[in-house]
């Protein structure tokens, strides 16, 4: 069994693993990053500029192969397609189970860069409306931090990542350090004006996106090919592959080990510390072990928790660092699916230009100033407005030269809005390991038990109705309301299962993302979340990771770790 020693080991190379690698190496630690999947070579693996006519099925995908190998991953329909299915796991190698009739969509990316290659890039700060909600409503447990604790770290990560956006001065959605905003389309501008006129509680702003609108930190501005999830040869959006990992590499203290499938952590019961990581080599399937002084588990919410659950010891029979019994519990995701779309008359002589990799955002307005009678918390809308293209011809009657010439011109304007709703933490939404069902590397898999509660369902109903009202206020015609909730997991904002908290009896991690039960163990991905807010969580993961690294390294220097 091979062994090696490092100052720090980071498990996972996605959004949070990349940040941990950058922060720890820049602070002088020799750091090993263990990534379960393969290396990504941008020149070889990125496909954003491959013309559609070079795809064998022109975007219709190899449906037989996808149904065979990626039946679950392809539920992420915006990205697991003919171009970029290669950035998603093979479902047959990576099984899991969920309860009958309660499907959980577990979308995973195993490669250097993780899901940061294919993420949606929307970046919003949480506010104290989020951090105080559990405490004020008596739900689950209180967050051990407040906005003031994380605000400087939002500044820090935004400054490095580069977030474009428009400051709006809203207390529920704090402004960040923004690069110039992208432009709104004609009908989006109309909607913004209409909401300003008709509502005192809701606004439309351009999406806040980790896409560069000008040269930033040696990375080029976006060239608006518009398909970021296929990669970006100019590194114009933030991913660990484009940004944090190159920074870590530059220190000379990074060792990146792809094909390193983490089995479990080794716990030294005398020292009450984690002493190593058990790895199965992804290619040879040989077992390996790596040792370090501190460990950052950044493998994505459920993979990280799975590692701890698979690391049970006599002291921790139900999973490492699980004296609270909360490990695996309180799984959350945002609920999507509800929304509305409509046709916007006018602006026939105008059109947008460029493929904007971003949409519009309507920040939360429910339970901000007044209480809603049917549910607590709230939701935001993401959406956009543009003109129909040639594909409208498939449902138009006509053929011949006249038909062809009509389709050369852009069609009517449409606006659509889709809600992202907060999900309450619920002890009964949980995961456990299934020792009978092993993955391709012989590692016990997860059984996921998760369903929406009545609060989410009531909120979802409101999302559809309010979306229609907002569109109507904006002048939309032929409004269609969508009501079907997506299964949990499909927002790919899974959170919780190793929550932070002040009390070791009710939480797994402390206010610095450090395990209550093992001082040199940190978890900074979505597993640490105590509630889910309604905004996209990745920016908060980044800030928490940088903050935890700062804490860990200063504690090491004071010999406290």
């Amino acid at each position: 069994m091979a062994t090696a020693n490092y100052d720090a080991i980071v498990i996972g190379s996605g959004i949070t693993g990349g940040w941990a690698a950058k922060e720890l190496t820049e602070k002088g630690l020799n750091t090993l990053v263990l990534e379960a999947g393969r290396s990504i070579v941008p020149e070889r693996d990125y496909v954003e500029h491959v013309p559609v006519w070079e795809l064998k099925h022109r975007g219709w995908d190899d449906r037989n192969e996808r149904q065979r190998a990626q039946l679950i991953q392809r539920e992420c329909y915006y990205a697991c397609d003919e171009y970029s299915h290669q950035f998603f796991v093979n479902d047959q190698e990576n099984p899991y189970s969920s309860d009958p009739g309660k499907h959980f969509s577990w979308i995973r990316g195993r490669q250097v860069g993780g899901k940061s290659i294919t993420w949606g890039r929307q970046c919003y700060r949480w506010s104290d409306l989020d951090f105080e909600a559990n405490s004020k409503e008596g739900i689950a447990i209180d967050w051990p931090i407040r906005y003031a604790d994380i605000a400087p770290w939002y500044d820090y990560v935004e400054e490095f990542a580069g977030i474009s956006g428009q400051p709006e001065g809203l207390p529920q959605l704090p402004d960040g350090k923004f690069l110039p905003p992208m432009e709104m389309t004609c009908v989006e501008q109309d909607l913004r004006a209409a909401l300003a006129k008709n509502f005192d509680d809701r606004i439309v702003t351009i999406g806040r996106s980790a896409v560069l609108t000008r040269v930033h930190k040696g990375r080029a501005a976006c060239h608006y090919c518009g398909v970021c999830h296929r990669g970006c040869i100019t590194s114009s959006y933030f991913s660990s592959l484009n940004s944090t990992l190159p920074a870590a590499q530059k220190t000379g203290r990074l060792t990146m080990r792809p094909y390193s499938v983490v089995h479990s952590l080794v716990y030294d019961s005398k020292a009450r510390r984690v002493s190593g990581v058990r790895v199965i080599d992804g290619q040879t399937k040989n077992p390996l072990e790596f040792k370090a002084r501190i460990f950052f588990v950044c493998g994505s919410t459920l993979e990280s928790t799975r590692i701890l659950l698979n690391s049970a010891t006599p002291e921790f029979p139900n999973g490492l660092a699980n004296s609270s019994g909360e490990l695996g519990h309180n799984l959350m995701d945002h609920h999507m699916g509800a929304g509305a779309s409509g046709r916007m008359p006018g602006h026939e002589d105008k059109m947008p230009f460029g493929n904007r990799p971003n949409g519009i955002y309507i920040p939360r307005f429910r339970n901000v100033k007044s209480k809603h009678k049917d549910f607590v918390r709230g939701y935001g809308y993401q959406g956009g407005g543009s003109r129909a293209g040639w594909s409208r011809g498939r449902d138009m009657s006509g053929l011949g030269a006249e038909f062809k010439n009509a389709l050369r011109m852009p069609g009517p304007w449409h606006l659509s809005l889709g809600g992202f709703g907060e999900c309450l933490p619920n002890h009964n939404n949980y995961v456990e390991v299934d020792k009978e069902k092993l993955d391709a590397w012989g590692i016990p898999t997860l059984k996921i038990h998760c369903d929406w509660s009545e609060n989410e369902r009531a909120m979802s109903r409101d999302i559809g109705i309010q979306a229609a009202e907002i569109l109507a206020a904006g002048g939309a015609k032929d409004i269609e309301v969508q009501r079907k909730m997506t299964p949990p997991g499909l927002a790919i904002h899974e959170m919780g299962t190793a929550r932070m908290g002040r009390d070791p009896k009710t939480s797994v991690l402390n206010a610095n993302n450090q395990a209550h039960d093992a001082k040199n163990l940190f978890m900074t991905d979505g597993a640490c979340m105590v509630s889910s807010s309604c905004v996209n969580p990745s920016l908060t993961y980044m800030a928490l990771t940088a903050r935890a690294c700062d804490f860990a390294v200063s504690a090491m220097k004071k010999n406290e770790l």
Partner: protein, 200 residues
Amino acid sequence: MHRRELLRMLAAGAALPALSTDMFAFFRGAHPAEGYALRTLNPRQNATVVAMIDQIIPETDTPGAKGARVNEFIDVILTEWANDTERKNFLEGLAGVDKRSNELFGKDFADAAPAQQLTLLRAMDEAAAFESIDRPPRPPAYEEAGRDKQLEGNFFSVFKNITLHGYYTSEIGFTQELKLEIIPGAQHGCIPRGPGLGDA
């Protein structure tokens, strides 16, 4: 401007990995090459397909579906993508076109005069439109609801769908007809419309 030159220009002053000359090689050869040999359509079926796509998207100031070899895309989809039922329905639909053409004009569709072909296709188009009047529009393949369902439904509606898709995702359709750029290089929200989709 060639897209790679444009990329270099865009990245001026920024760290950009050296662009391999093989950058676009990944999918090369996937599109039916010149001299593609049909695998599902027999010569008669192919002749019907070519005549139909040529009427639906004809040559104007740009090449049409025939020039973009949409029949070869259709053959790829029928061979590798369609399931047995979809393939059978499609080929039966094609035979039905010839049958009707023979009833009306005494000739196979491909041999009928252009005006006769147009008359027959317009009738089929209107019937398909009438049939779909109460149906929601067919969702495109990139939307979840439309995925895997592009060959479902009325034969003519399926035929038109695959023809449009094959044409507008061809190099001719994308670059010559729609004048789209893979790398637009800028973003504007609301500007005066030019003469084509990609012209601002």
